[in-house]
């Protein structure tokens, strides 16, 4: 048993630290911070600037991609270090849809033309992707999806509606699961994996406002959208296989341990400034106990993640255990956003940055913490709800 990083890993860690220090733009930090505080939507530039910088540096925008496709091909330990350092420095996270999701599907199942067409733009961050999986009637039961793609000559004609399409408002492309064979014996067997240019006539994006007022997700409608058959990934009706591959493929960092650690640090600072019963809130036994409980859970989760990582490094691959990381990771994220909101007392109330008021009130550190709490209720629902994750563990790990 050895949890120390090797000298090479430590050197790598320094290299990452230095790189972030020199290359993460202060303007980006300021822009994102000021918008976050007012609960304002981040721009496409905010979301992709860091991605673009990393894309120009040894494929660091794609830590797990093979070198052959321009990725960094980090070892699992390096990936872990990289994510940790980015979180510590509070770098804007890289949108997962291109790098972690469709990219690996394209280089694994796509043909040469598709690789040449799409991988460079994903890597560089120039092309913005979104994900077309969920539908109004297909959430946890994804395989029941209805969006249809009917082949007519050189095109698929796509009709239907996707929902929860995160950041579709900025997207250039969407990867979609569509039904190509409605007669298949099992619903999973009639699904195909299609890449669709968002500029194609018939594609409409409508915003969905979340309860904190933020605009992250959308409805995406397809009305007789003509998609060239060249945009089919792999074989027709095999889409479910690719979708499952995608789900299992990139789960490192799913637990968000480093970012939650950082958040707890912040909460401790806030709780040192806030007063309760004439003493800093951090001295309050009830509050202190909640912080400690979150820290213990996080410390355990960090080692669960390291154990998964060690398994991964040994080539055993992360299995359905990643469901555990998702459940616990999002539990803690939610606990932490709640503690942050709780720490600021009455100043959880002001909802800044709306059309009704654009001015700051209250302590600088308090702004939008309640918004974040409300927003983060999503975490135990997205990416396969935590109940579905339990079903996965029950089936795949416990054999029930």
């Amino acid at each position: 048993m050895d949890t120390a990083f090797s000298n090479e890993d430590l050197k790598f860690q320094n290299e990452i630290r230095d790189f972030i220090k020199t290359n993460y733009p202060q303007e980006l930090r300021d822009s994102i911070n000021s918008k976050r505080k007012l609960g304002k939507e981040l721009s496409r530039e905010d979301l992709t600037a860091w991605h673009k910088i990393l894309g120009k540096h040894n494929g660091w925008s794609a830590p797990s991609w093979p070198k052959q496709y321009g990725g960094a091909e980090f070892t699992p330990t390096q990936k872990y270090i990289f994510e940790q350092e980015c979180a510590k420095a509070e770098c804007q996270y890289i949108m997962p849809f291109g790098i972690n999701m469709v990219g690996p599907v394209i280089y694994t199942f796509g043909n040469e033309e598709q690789k040449a067409q799409h991988l460079p733009g994903i890597l560089s961050g120039e092309v913005f992707w979104c994900q077309g999986y969920s539908e109004p009637g297909s959430g946890s039961d994804l395989a029941s999806l209805k969006t249809s793609a009917v082949k007519e000559g050189d095109y698929y004609i796509v009709n239907g509606q996707k929902t929860w399409t995160t950041m579709a408002q900025y997207a250039d492309w969407i990867f979609c699961l569509v039904r190509t064979n409605p007669e298949a014996e099992k619903p999973q067997q009639g699904i195909s994996f299609l890449l669709i240019d968002m500029k194609t006539p018939g594609v409409t994006v409508r915003p969905i406002k979340l309860m904190d007022g933020s605009h992250e997700v959308n409805e995406t409608w397809f009305d007789n959208v003509k998609v060239p058959v060249e945009n089919l990934i792999g074989q027709e009706n095999m889409g479910w296989t690719y979708a499952k591959f995608l789900l299992a493929h990139e789960r490192s960092g799913i637990a968000g341990v480093a970012r939650s650690k950082k958040a707890i640090e912040r909460i401790k600072q806030i709780a040192s400034s806030e007063m309760s019963y004439g003493e800093p809130l951090i001295q309050d036994p009830a509050f202190k106990a909640k912080i400690a409980a979150a820290e213990l859970e996080l410390s355990a989760l960090e080692y669960t993640e390291l154990r998964t990582l060690a398994k991964d490094s040994a080539g055993k691959g992360p299995g359905p255990e990643s469901s555990l990381l998702k459940i616990k990771g999002t539990d803690i994220q939610q606990a932490v956003t709640e503690l942050a909101m709780e720490a600021v007392g009455y100043y959880a109330n002001p909802h800044l940055g709306t059309t009704l008021s654009n001015e700051y009130v209250g302590p600088d550190y308090a702004t939008n913490l309640s918004g974040t709490y409300f927003n983060f209720r999503k975490a135990s629902i997205y990416g396969g709800s935590n109940e579905i994750q339990r079903n996965i563990i029950a089936k795949m790990v416990l054999g029930l």
Binding site: M1, D2, T3, D9, N33, R36, K37, T77, E90, R259, A263, R266, K268, Q269, I270, S272, S273, P280, I282, K288, I291, A292, A293, E295, L296, E297, S299, A300, L301, E302, Y303, T304, L306, R307, L309, A310, S313, A314, E321, L324, I327, K328, V336, T337, A340, D364, Y365, A366, T367, L369, T372, E387, R390, N391, I393, A394, V397, L398, G399, L400
Partner: protein, 392 residues
């Protein structure tokens, strides 16, 4: 970065696993715990033959020079078998104190005998009023010529009835709760002035109340420096706490696995109860708690235990978190076993009881939570940096 065992550790793991498999089937264990003695000397001899009694001791005294990770391996397997022989009290707790504080002469005379199985020790530290506070010591030791005279009362001393020797903490200076002024004495269990009231514990181990009346102990049998034992006691109790946590993790694994099996086999309404999602999710949550417990144990075992603050923090984090897992996994195991969970005859209740008592051992969840908080949340200053917050 790896959590694999070394070759030696794998051998050790295999050895303890086969001992438990071959010598500790359920019926055998039931007979042991029902016996007058409450343990089996033959097993102890076998521990000696296998070298298990020497795991943590320095090679200079015939030990294997093992570390916390090695003790973890032994205790985890002992946990799986609910092995009742007094390994933790003798080898880890008392043995740890002797290794830490003993003079060369004391170490040379005692440690080889522990390793060969001829000496068993117990550590008498808790008192009726002390609860988990190691510094709260009323038992007194007064110097009279070349002897100390001890008077007092020690509570719930695990393994005392099986021990040839006791290590007793007593106050030689300072007031009742002072950290300085505590001294350790090593005495023969059969000494005049020592009365043991032996009893079984709820989880079928054995413990004793120790009544100390005008017990004469020669100056030569002081362990370590007079008045200065506290730091060593805290350290060795911490190391022993990791061992107890390891035992708990072994038990939790059995509870989780056997409950999963039970639910697969138990049929109601014409189908296995494991087909019910409400049962499945409870089993998954048991598994998650087990994994989290194991992870935080690994955290503690791989922490820098030579740094005392690091050690305290890691140990209390692990004990508090594992305490929480014990409660959830244990209570769930009983609940999902239904009627079979609450009977004495079926093994699940025995695992539950042992795990619950480990929850109390060396300080319960609240106790360690408070210690952890004291260690981690003092000295935070609000003016260190301008705060700008984004939690996402």
């Amino acid at each position: 970065m790896n959590f694999d065992y070394t070759e030696e550790q794998t051998l050790l793991d295999n050895m303890v696993t086969s001992f438990v498999r071959d010598n500790y089937d359920w019926d055998t264990r039931c007979n042991i715990v029902k016996s007058e003695e409450g343990w089996k000397e033959e097993n102890w001899k076998q521990f000696a033959d296998l070298g298990l009694l020497g795991v943590p001791f320095d090679e200079a005294y015939g030990g294997l020079g093992g570390k916390s990770a090695d003790l973890m391996i032994v205790m985890e397997q002992f946990g799986k078998g609910l092995v009742v022989e007094p390994y933790l009290p003798t080898v880890i707790l008392a043995g740890g104190l002797i290794s830490k504080l003993g003079s060369e002469e004391q170490k040379n005379s005692i440690i080889p005998k522990i390793i060969s199985g001829n000496v068993r020790c117990a550590f008498a530290y808790a008192e009726p009023q002390s609860r988990f506070d190691l510094n709260d010591v009323k038992t007194s030791a007064l110097l009279n010529g070349d002897d100390y005279v001890l008077n007092g009362f020690k509570s719930v001393v695990f393994g005392a009835g099986m021990a040839s020797h006791l290590i007793i903490s007593a106050r030689t200076d300072g007031d009742q709760r002072s950290e300085s002024g505590i001294t350790l004495f090593i005495v023969d269990t059969k000494s005049d002035g020592l009365t043991l009231q032996n009893y079984p514990t709820i989880d079928e181990y054995r413990a004793s109340e120790v009544i100390i009346e005008n017990l004469k102990v020669s100056k030569d049998n002081v362990l370590g420096e007079v008045n200065m034992a506290y730091d060593a006691i805290e350290e060795i109790v911490d190391i022993s706490t990791i061992a107890a946590c390891s035992e708990a993790v072994g038990i939790l694994q059995v509870l989780k696995d056997s409950t999963t099996e039970y639910c697969k086999n138990r049929k109601q309404f014409g189908q296995s109860i494991a087909k019910n999602q409400v049962i499945q999710h409870r089993l998954v949550d048991m598994m998650i708690e087990y994994e989290q417990a194991k992870s935080i144990l690994y955290m503690a075992v791989t922490a820098d235990l030579s740094n005392s603050d690091e050690r305290r923090k890691a140990v209390s984090a692990a004990k508090a978190r594992i305490g929480k897992a014990i409660k959830f996994v244990g209570e769930s195991a009983i609940q999902l076993h239904g009627g079979m969970g609450v009977v004495d005859e079926y093994m699940v209740s025995h695992y539950f009881k042992r795990a619950t008592m480990i929850g109390v051992l060396f300080g319960n969840t609240d106790y360690h939570m408070k210690r952890y908080m004291t260690l981690t949340q003092s000295g935070i200053s609000s003016s260190d940096e301008a705060i700008s917050v984004s939690v996402t």
